[in-house]
């Protein structure tokens, strides 16, 4: 009788330990599930656009230009401290009508002695207005490769959605350029590999 009690207890303990182990595993996976959940929460619950994805021309064409008001758009450009580039907007501030397609230009120069691939990461402030800022073309959508000493003029075409709340009078679009280390390394590897191939 007492043996049975002890055995049942031991079984209960094992069962409980298994349940607890499952909770542990689920929590570990939940940590990783927070990566997509974070995006979903930002974009669908809090209304912040994280990714500066391309917006189709048609969507923008369907917007009516609101000539009754203007919004100031300011441009900020910076480079990560590890990237030896110079990077600046050609104009730092313009006034636009919501709904009107606008084009601005940015200039980047590679001051290093070798080719570097960079990626620009955009950010719109205030974050609550990020939903209303649409880019139809941007150098941030792709990798930018600059050879040693090379300069490039790069366009951004954008439309401010006319549904932008009236209390937002100024939008700031900022870009930070980072070195794309993997692409740069690959580039350096192919550059070294090609001469040796030629010898064969």
């Amino acid at each position: 009788m007492s043996h049975n009690v002890a055995q049942t207890k031991q079984r209960d303990v094992r069962g409980l330990a298994k349940v607890a182990g499952t909770v542990v595993l689920a929590s570990f996976l939940f940590g990783f599930a927070m990566v997509p959940l974070y995006r979903i929460a930002c974009e669908h619950v809090l209304g912040i656009k994280l990714a500066g994805d391309v917006v189709a021309q048609e969507t923008v064409a369907a917007m009516e230009v609101d000539v009754s008001r203007t919004v100031a758009v300011e441009f900020v450009a910076g480079v990560n401290s590890r990237l030896p580039w110079e990077f600046a907007p050609e104009v730092s501030r313009i006034e636009v009508h919501p709904g009107a397609l606008t084009e601005v230009w940015f200039d980047a120069t590679n001051t290093a002695g070798s080719a570097i691939v960079g990626n620009a990461v955009p950010s719109v402030a205030p974050s609550s207005a990020s939903l209303y800022f649409n880019k139809t073309e941007c150098f941030c959508f792709t990798e930018q490769k600059l050879d040693a000493g090379e300069s490039r003029r790069m366009p951004v075409r954008f439309v401010v959605d006319p549904r932008l709340p009236a209390d937002v009078r100024t939008l700031t679009l900022s870009y930070t350029f980072y070195e794309n280390e993997i692409a740069t390394r690959r580039l350096a590897a192919t550059a070294h590999a090609s001469p040796s191939l030629a010898q064969h």
């Binding site: 009788m1 002890a6 303990v13 409980l16 330990a17 570990f28 940590g31 974050s127 280390e181």
Partner: protein, 539 residues
């Protein structure tokens, strides 16, 4: 039935078995493992404390005097990791190991071998973490929160710290599973859930928090590791990641974690105050529900640690109000402790003094927490010494004082001797005065704008920093008294403890002899409801 466990047990019941190594390295006895945890945490308390002494010495005067800024940053980072994962958490697990089986009438923990493993992982984890201090490229310097991109800019020490954190996490998870299994399966017949001592309840809830959030931390640091070494971009902006996301994942672990470090303290204090007030705990069930509510709320308030990252207004308002809500169950607990003492026949032995200091000083830390919860105010307080003062009030005068209270309270049961009441009181008064000299001025420094984690500061902050450092050295030296009192009690005291030890003590642990024999409750005890710590539950 009365002989339940005796059949399986062929050990010698009274003498401590085997040689020294076999006893401690292969320990499966909950009391031995509890002792190992407590000794280890005391050792880590001094390792982490020495780092704090270096920090306070450098901050004694403005300007750079003693250490390089890199080393200073290593000290702030390591002090936090060592104190949280090496001192406070193992101390609670040690107290839980010792007291939970005794308090619920179980012969041992449910999973004794796992118990051994979860302790012996810890010395290796800390050896790995502390070894980074001697590595080329130095130890982690980005703060215990390991925020990327800063934390990733260190050398390979980051990888050592991450693996050490993995090990500490595995250790705590196994400890938590063991405690859950013990409490739910090993209680003596008649020890219903709502008759359990409040310390056992606080640990049951804490253990659930541990298994829910430690794996999330493991996930977060694993992402850091793959970002650094395997080319992923969870937090790397250049690859499309988001460093703010790390803060969300980290604090989803981090906020429950801070309650992991205080709920068992609530339990200890709820044991001690009734004993020395000679009254049952007021509102036993309310206390349990309060702990459970605090535990639940801890999961939904994490972003109050990061009000300044640029959250939408709605998010800030939600996290502000949800955070303030925690003051309600916490207030219930403070009121119940005070009401327990009301019209009680109080005496002020050392454990009670520490418990009283806990109630008062933890409440001060709670109030500064409420101030920090106010979003517009937090923009000024964020990352200043006000935050440092706040969390040291809840962790040092909260968690650490409760651990010391528990150590004084149960020490006679562990070693069979009374400690020196005179030196215990000297230790208490020296600690309680110096800790306020140490941390109270830091509130003012923070309000005046002194940032945390800096080795040098504006001369305007000089006087308060000097006062704080003097308090720091004094508090650090006072803890040597603690070691002295313990060593004296264990090895030299001639004053034998009685079985009940304290006149007003109630509960199963006081029904076994002092010192508690190596094996207890092999025959389940008969529960006498009127002898429960919180009074007769039928009323």
């Amino acid at each position: 039935m009365a002989h339940a466990a005796v059949h399986d047990d062929h050990h010698d019941h009274h003498a401590a078995p085997q040689g020294f190594l076999a006893r401690w390295v292969f320990a499966t006895n909950h009391k031995d493992i509890g002792t190992l945890y407590l000794v280890f945490s005391l050792l880590m308390f001094f390792v982490g404390g020495s780092m704090a002494m270096i920090i306070r010495a450098e901050l004694f005067q403005p300007g750079m005097q003693l250490v390089e800024p890199e080393f200073f940053n290593e000290m702030t980072t390591m002090h936090a990791l060592v104190m949280i994962f090496g001192a406070v958490m193992p101390a609670f697990v040690g107290l839980g190991n010792w007291m939970i089986p005794l308090q619920v009438g179980a012969p041992d923990m449910a999973l004794p071998r796992m118990n051994n493993l979860s302790f012996w992982i810890l010395p290796f984890a800390f050896f790995m973490l502390l070894s980074t201090l001697f590595m080329p490229g130095a130890g982690p310097q980005g703060g215990w929160t390991l925020y990327p991109p800063l934390s990733m800019q260190g050398g390979h020490a980051v990888a050592f710290a991450i693996f050490a954190i993995h090990l500490m996490g595995i250790s705590s998870i196994m400890g938590a599973i063991n405690i859950i299994a013990t409490i739910l399966n090993m209680r003596a017949p008649g020890m219903d859930l709502l008759k359990m001592p409040i310390f056992v309840w606080s640990w049951l809830i804490t253990a659930f928090l541990l298994i829910a959030v430690m794996p999330v931390l493991a996930g977060a640091v694993t992402m850091l590791l793959t970002d650094k070494y395997f080319g992923t971009s969870f937090f790397n902006v250049a690859g499309g990641g988001d460093p703010v996301m790390f803060q969300h994942i980290f604090w989803f672990f981090g906020h429950p974690e801070v309650y992991i470090m205080i709920l068992p303290a609530f339990g200890i204090v709820s044991e001690i105050i009734p004993t020395f007030a000679r009254k049952p705990l007021f509102g036993y069930q309310a206390m349990i529900y309060a702990i459970a509510s605090i535990a639940f709320l801890s999961f939904i308030v994490w972003a109050h640690h990061m009000f300044t990252v640029g959250m939408p207004l709605g998010g800030e308002l939600y996290f502000m109000y949800a955070t303030m809500l925690i003051a309600v169950p916490t207030g219930v607990k403070v009121f119940n402790w005070v009401t327990t003492m009301w019209e009680g026949s109080m005496t002020f032995e050392t454990p009670m003094l520490f418990a009283l200091a806990f109630v008062i000083l933890f409440t001060i830390g709670g109030f500064s927490g409420l101030m920090l919860a106010i979003v517009p105010a937090d923009f000024q307080y964020h990352d200043t010494y006000f935050v440092v003062a706040h969390f040291h009030y809840v962790l040092v005068t909260g968690a650490v004082f409760a651990i010391m209270a528990g150590a004084y309270y149960w020490l006679p049961k562990w070693c069979g001797n009374m400690y020196s009441e005179r030196w215990g009181k000297i230790h208490f008064w020296s600690s309680v005065i110096s800790v306020n000299v140490l941390f109270f001025p830091q509130h003012f420094l923070g309000l005046a704008g002194m940032p945390r984690r800096i080795p040098d500061y504006n001369v305007a902050f000089a006087d308060f920093n000097m006062i704080s450092s003097i308090g720091g050295f004094w508090f650090g030296a006072s803890q040597l008294l603690f070691v002295g009192v313990i060593v004296h009690a264990v090895f030299f005291s001639k004053n034998r403890a009685t079985q009940q030890v304290w006149e007003g003590a109630r509960g199963l642990e006081w029904t076994v002899p002092s010192p508690a024999p190596h094996h207890t409750f092999e025959t389940p005890p008969v529960i006498d409801d009127s002898m429960l710590a919180h009074g007769d539950v039928s009323h």
